[in-house]
Symmetry: C2
Subunit: 351 residues, 2 copies
DNA sequence: ATCACCTGTGGGAGCGCTCCCACAGTATCT
DNA sequence: AGATACTGTGGGAGCGCTCCCACAGGTGAT
């Protein structure tokens, strides 16, 4: 009777055992029905389902998690302050894709911000306690220790945007190299010949890939690299403004700019306007991300679109696969998968 | 040995029992230390803490949840599609407040969208499974069955914005009545005498209260109610535009408008402009919510600000209290608490 | 000295599941 | 006919905790 009062045997929620008694079968059989095992006869299954309905039975999740050693939850970790999460459409698109894919399953999504030190410590605790079956890492910087922590704890994880060409975690990315190529080839096709590039932060792998794509497109078209046409930026508007100034000083004859992000392009546009250059008449401009900024810019900005929602969906796919694969043989070594989705050029008036 | 292989006795995470053995104490004592019970001597506590550190022990959450019948998680339920969640600053402010308050505890926050039927069914399942200790309900419409479901399942809950004066759930709200009063009194003080009101959807209790406050302010100033000055709106811009048209037809001599929301005010402004009325020279305009719209309107809109972040914080306070109070005596009846926080008028150029 | 009452501690029982072994009953092969 | 294999089922053991009872040893009142 030690526990009789606690659980409230009579008034509380029904248990598996009670369902079994009601249906006149054993505990194991009810468990099999609940979990959709095929090893149950149709008649038995019907009887159990009737008992479940009559009693309004819902499995106790904690018991299930304890016995089966899983949580049926995965975490979406955002290593940014909440402010940015709401400000950038990237996250909402990603969340939409993730949510849509997850709705098919009975997995639960946890949204975890790790924008400051305290939040990060909490997250580390949380992961150490294995309170989730897997982790989605989005928007992680190259020097972030989070991916290593996750790997060390042997928690299945998928990262959006590999940290380098040698990424050890499973990753999903869009094709930054080809996206940049498309942008540059489009500019070449429109007759531009002096095409500059303002890069993103080069410690972000995607920014490196975009710069690579830019160079490759020019090289393949027979133009030899002109380093004066490349200026390192940092994804910010201010950086774009500054970089554009430097480029214009060095190469007053440039006739196109491929910017590493839409925000960067906005900064570049501001300087071009100050310098009296018309877009696209004097200088064509292309951004990256196809964000709201691009659509509302004057003139509307040609930009490279990443299929972010689709990326979210595929990240869940891969994560669920990884979780399934690690069960029940945690020893088997899985080679990391690197999925790359196509990017797409959205042409508007700026080019 | 049935389970020997499953759990991985040797290589896996340490258990309470192992910590106890290491520290040379009993299982109960370790549990007491982990849970911060005062009934442990300083020496014993130190020994246990050392063992915990050496072994890198982290409690197994599922086991804890099963044994103690709690989950250490609460849900923030958003009965809207995700789109609106990201579009409206209301939610991000709320989330910030909630997050800040929750960071003090070791409770986990779950963000759950219930914007469509499927999501709602999932949520119902989730609640029935008692996978959270408590629920925060935000932005709930009057006819939403969610609050009743929660009440019926006897899950502690706090609602933002009571559904009526007779709300049975614990609620946190801002003072809509007084906010409206402040707006109208401000207009009166500036010499306006023909003050119109475009209400919000009147099935939203807060909108009713704003209308009440509007009427009370006028009555207290000695003006008898002129029903022609009130037009029912619906919180949308289109509704504001339409309502403003109706008001102007009926009362061409009005000299001020108090709108039920900033969005409504934006619609009203559009019509006023079309009608050639200058703001604030001919007609003063006041909105509600103090959203980004208000700051960026031309002219900047005077608006009533609700302390949304603070509301989020207080909701958590109340919810945690409620959870604590229901343990371990679920029978004790708690009277619902209705907390009302002050609203504040932010004066700008439109009035 | 006796009794009552604290403080600190150990450990049994139980939370509600899943996993897996055992076994009855039937079908299939030699 | 016997051996072999499968299908469907029951239930023991165990997951890692918390709760609570029991009890040792100390302290103060009578």
């Amino acid at each position: 009777m030690a526990h009789g009062a606690r659980g409230g045997r009579s008034g509380g929620r029904p248990t598996l055992e009670e369902v079994a008694a009601r249906a006149g079968v054993g505990r194991g059989t009810v468990s099999r029905v609940i979990n959709g095992s095929p090893r149950v006869s149709a008649a038995t299954r019907a009887a159990v389902e009737a008992a479940v309905a009559e009693l309004g039975y819902v499995p106790n999740n904690a018991a299930r998690a304890l016995a089966a050693n899983r949580t049926d939850a995965i975490a979406l970790v955002v290593p940014e302050p909440e402010t940015r999460f709401f400000a950038e459409p990237y996250f909402s698109d990603m969340l939409r894709g993730v949510g849509a894919e997850l709705a098919e399953t009975q997995m639960q999504l946890l949204l975890i911000f790790a924008g400051n030190d305290r939040e990060r410590r909490r997250l580390a605790q949380y992961l150490a306690a294995h309170r989730v079956d897997g982790v989605l890492l989005v928007s992680v910087h190259a020097d972030d220790p989070l991916p290593d922590l996750v790997a060390q704890l042997e928690i299945p994880a998928v990262i959006s945007g590999p940290r380098s060409a040698a990424e050890t975690l499973t990753s999903v990315d869009s094709d930054n190299y080809d996206g940049a190529r498309q942008a540059v080839e489009h500019l070449l096709a429109r007759g531009r010949r002096r095409i500059a590039h303002i890069t993103g932060r080069l410690d972000v792998y995607g920014a490196q890939r975009r710069a690579d794509g830019y160079r490759a497109a020019l090289r393949d078209a027979g133009y030899e690299a002109d380093l004066r046409l490349i200026e390192v930026g940092d994804f910010t508007e201010e950086g774009g403004h500054r970089a554009m100034g430097a480029l214009l000083d060095r190469c007053p004859d440039l006739d196109a700019v491929f910017a590493g992000s839409d925000v960067t392009a906005a900064g570049a546009r501001r300087l071009l306007r100050e310098a009296g250059r018309r877009i696209p008449d004097d200088v064509a401009l292309i951004g990256y991300d196809d964000s709201a900024i691009a659509r509302h810019m004057d003139p509307p900005l040609t930009s490279v679109r990443q299929p972010i929602q689709e990326m979210g969906r595929r990240m869940i796919d891969l994560l669920l696969t990884e979780i399934a694969d690690r069960r029940p043989a945690p020893t088997r070594e899985l080679e990391p998968r690197q999925l790359v989705l196509p990017a797409e050029l959205v042409v508007r008036a700026s080019s």
